[in-house]
Subunit: 129 residues, 2 copies
């Protein structure tokens, strides 16, 4: 990450202060209230840079656009495949053991970023259909 910019600063702040796993569009809209001339491409470009530099995490899902998450204490995600919302949960997955096993079985060296699971959330369950 090279040069400072007002926009990047604001994008980091927005993601770090949000606890609802915002989409790029939501981040863009939020930054726009502080900095009305910011462009969508700046937001996308910076989100990419911030993910690369491990300042934020990116969450990809079965449904809807990608979402972003500040890097905090390790936690896991339960994603609703109806509405796309992301919920946090804690559970001890024994990453060290898991990591070794996966490396042995697949050759993939996993990054310990928490685990994501899909399902259906409470409010979507209530809306029958």
């Amino acid at each position: 990450m090279k040069n400072y910019s007002r926009q990047r600063e604001e994008i980091i702040k927005t993601v770090q202060e949000s606890y609802d796993h915002p989409t790029a569009e939501e981040i863009y809209l939020s930054v726009k209230t502080k900095d009305p001339d910011v462009s969508r491409s700046t937001v996308y470009r910076n989100l990419g840079v911030l993910v690369e530099n491990n300042l934020i995490n990116k969450i990809s899902m079965l449904v809807g656009p990608d979402r972003y998450d500040a890097v905090r204490e390790k936690h896991n995600h339960a994603i609703c495949t109806k509405c796309g919302k992301v919920f946090d949960f804690k559970y001890d997955f024994e990453y060290e053991k898991l990591k070794k096993m996966i490396l042995k079985q697949t050759g993939v060296e996993i990054s310990e970023k928490g685990i994501a699971l899909e399902g259906i959330c409470n409010s979507c369950k209530k809306l029958k259909n």
Copy 2:
């Protein structure tokens, strides 16, 4: 799932016979060799129907297009965030316990489709940078 069609038949067969988690495009190309007039929208439409009917699974990732997977013995996925390839592995995640815990913590009722983890695969690790 209502009416039989030659195309749907071939799409199911293609996914079930593949062990490399093909993308919709790859499935389309493969079906096209058997049925040159098939259209991409037929493939996309049918993949959707087949996922709904639980004949195949859909895998969404941090990188690249969605991939598909025949419904087989339960297994988990390690996904390379460089090349997008998907690798299978087996590990006992104690789903029952996990499911209860997630429901309690988030209200999300997870579907037990296996767990996906991200990392970097062997061949991508070798190509430095």
